[in-house]
Amino acid sequence: MKDQSSHSAAPRTLTGAEIIWACLERLGVEHIFGYPGGAILPTYDALTRSRVHHVLVRHEQGATHMADGYARASGRVGVALATSGPGATNMVTGIATAMMDSSPIVCITGQVGSAVLGSDAFQETDITGITLPITKHNYLVTRAEEIAVSLREAFHIAASDRPGPVLVDITKDAQLGSCEFDWEAAAPRAHRQVPDFFPTAAKLAEAAAMIDEAQRPVILAGHGIILSGAEEEVRRLAETADIPIALTLLGLGAFPASHALNLGMMGMHGEAWVNQAIQESDLLIALGMRFDDRVTGKLNTYAQKAKKIHVEIDRAEINKNVHVDMPLIGDLRDILRRLLPSVKAARHSAWWSQIHSSQQDSAVRDIQNLPDSGHLYAAHVINDLWRETKGEAIVVTDVGQHQMWEAQYYHHEKPRTLITSGGLGTMGFALPAAIGAKFARPDAEVWVVAGDGGFQMTMAELATIVQEKLNVKIAIINNGYLGMVRQWQEFFYEGRYAGTPLLSPDYVKLAEAYGIPGLMVTERSQVGPALHTSRFHAGAALIDFRVEQEDSVYPMVPAGADLQAMIRRPSPLVERPTDE
């Protein structure tokens, strides 16, 4: 909230619709992503008297991903707005995406008048019922008097503890009704006292002793570090006790990629040495991560030799997938700050030489080190993008092969520079989420990296980019297949490519139809110049990278297999033609 002058402290009578905007302004909302419709019309009418900037999306799913991208890029609550019925149901995918990745968003939906609720009225849907399991909480508001308190609570719930989406469904009569607007009286109240699970000094000392005793420790760094703002504390812990750090997909950026202690991404498409280090570790220190099946592989062979410390704000995550020896429940930064003074300095040279030796074999298989076959590989594109942007861009990815290549070849130094749908794996996420990210960080260079499949799911939002005059750059990794599914079909379904060959429009012409300059790149030598041209264009730009059609993401741990059972990239430079 920047401007106090327009808010007089004294309560005044406003319509419910006006109260919505008054609350959003006071909550510091500058942008809202939405789509109008019948049941939300009173609120749109009152928008004309509000300072909040409304971004007209092309589909309500886009509005939720924009709010999500805004939240992830800024750490603030993102807000989406839609009408009842189909407007609300179109939000479901975006809400579930935000839920799985703990992203703080508030979705406001119009609802039919309270008098006809439950009568299957035109555009009525039970959106609070539908979103019950995919929101942190939701509200059905039927009176103007309840709007302020519900919105204030919704923002508080979305952003506190483990963040997540909150939906506020407001009936049309609640928007039209009038009442006294009293901001102070609507302050959220602690309606319950949550028991204290914060680790005692004795527990923290015990954890510090475990760290001190470990010979082969590994830190598993997750999204919680970024959500908690604990990057500095994590770095101090790792440096003090000389602990290698492996990151989850959503943890990328929580610890600088260039740091000597950084191993890289773990899990299904993590490098072999990273997973090997985890498997051979004697102590895993899991920080704000949830042992997702994509990072553990087969659970009963996962890190058998390791004791586990799990620092986590959500008590329901403890012992969910992996049994841990030392759960520490609470805000990560608070816990690390209390833990750090008792962590002793250590050096683990034997452990490091063990890790480094397993790194050698992987390096020769790296596509960057293979002889140039004249083909354009996605890895080249991503690596060049990293080099060209000096690793400083915010990269927003879609879901699939390009997402994994991005994670492998774009080296993130800072938190909130990789925005990607990890938990739900939502195709179509990238373009709208990048729009939200650009609104959150207008001075940052924002790149969409999307496959030809996911891009076509939400490419209608190109119009939103143009209408809002946004400078968002788009790289389409175009291989003519739904690549990740094709890869699974190649590896596990004997190459039967059912439903994966994919036709695309001419993306250059498509971009031009929207007034966005487009380039097509088919050779490796064109990548750098095309990136350069696009970067220095004043507005949005699109590049269609026609990459090798049947390349696969290596290494790969097949779903449900042991973490060390990796499929490696076949390499003419490596003597053994097959792997264990």
Binding site: S160, P188, P195, A316
Partner: protein
């Protein structure tokens, strides 16, 4: 995780608002746990309801269920009382075929079980019994040969033995810690809410 499953009993205080029962039930459904019995009713506080939920799950799952229930905003407190000393009661109404020749023996059974006959019809009678689950099971087994025409049972209601269960845990320290670590710094506590929070959580880690 496959664990040995046994009935776990949760006592849950919730705000008396529309949809709260749905949220609780949905949580069990979504996580794949079957609810064996669920009762809801008013408490001595207006606007606060008390649920007793019985679900057969493993020990680890019970801890996560408890933690997950706590994540529901309308939940004021949760306690897994499985390992506590409790009084547990449910009620059954059993309509039994009661012909002239068997009526006397039925009356004898009712007396032994300290049940009550609450309706008498020419060919049947209704027996009301209150008690722990095993007592009701036993009565049902004994009545079955007579011909049970209809039966209805409430779920279990459970209360911990001893005094002042609800007054525990409202130490100033706990209040401070909560404010510091849940990001609810700016929120003043509502009086009365503290009384529902219990310091000792058998189901917690």
């Amino acid at each position: 995780m496959s664990e040995r499953e046994k009935p776990h009993t949760f006592v849950v205080y919730v705000e008396n608002k529309p949809g709260v029962l749905n949220r609780i039930a949905s949580l069990f459904r979504r996580r794949g746990y079957n609810i064996e019995s669920l009762t809801v009713g008013h408490t001595e506080h207006a606007n606060i309801s008390r649920m007793t939920i019985v679900s057969s799950i493993g020990e680890g799952a019970a801890q996560r269920v408890e933690a997950n229930i706590y994540k529901l905003v309308n939940v004021l407190s949760v306690k897994d009382v499985t390992h506590a000393t409790t009084i547990s009661r449910s009620l059954a109404l059993i309509k039994v075929e009661a012909l002239e020749e068997s009526r006397h023996r039925l009356m004898e059974i009712v007396r032994v079980f300290r049940a009550r006959v609450v309706d008498l019809a020419p060919r049947s009678l209704i027996i009301e019994i209150t008690g722990a689950e095993d007592k009701i099971h036993a009565l049902v087994d004994v009545l079955r040969p007579f011909g049970i025409l209809e039966m209805v049972r409430t779920g279990q209601v459970v209360m911990r033995r001893g005094a002042l269960e609800r007054a525990e845990g409202s130490s100033p320290k706990a209040v401070q810690q909560d404010a510091r670590h849940t990001g609810q710094k700016e929120l003043p506590a509502v009086s009365g809410a503290n009384a529902l929070v219990e310091a000792e959580h058998p189901g917690s880690v």
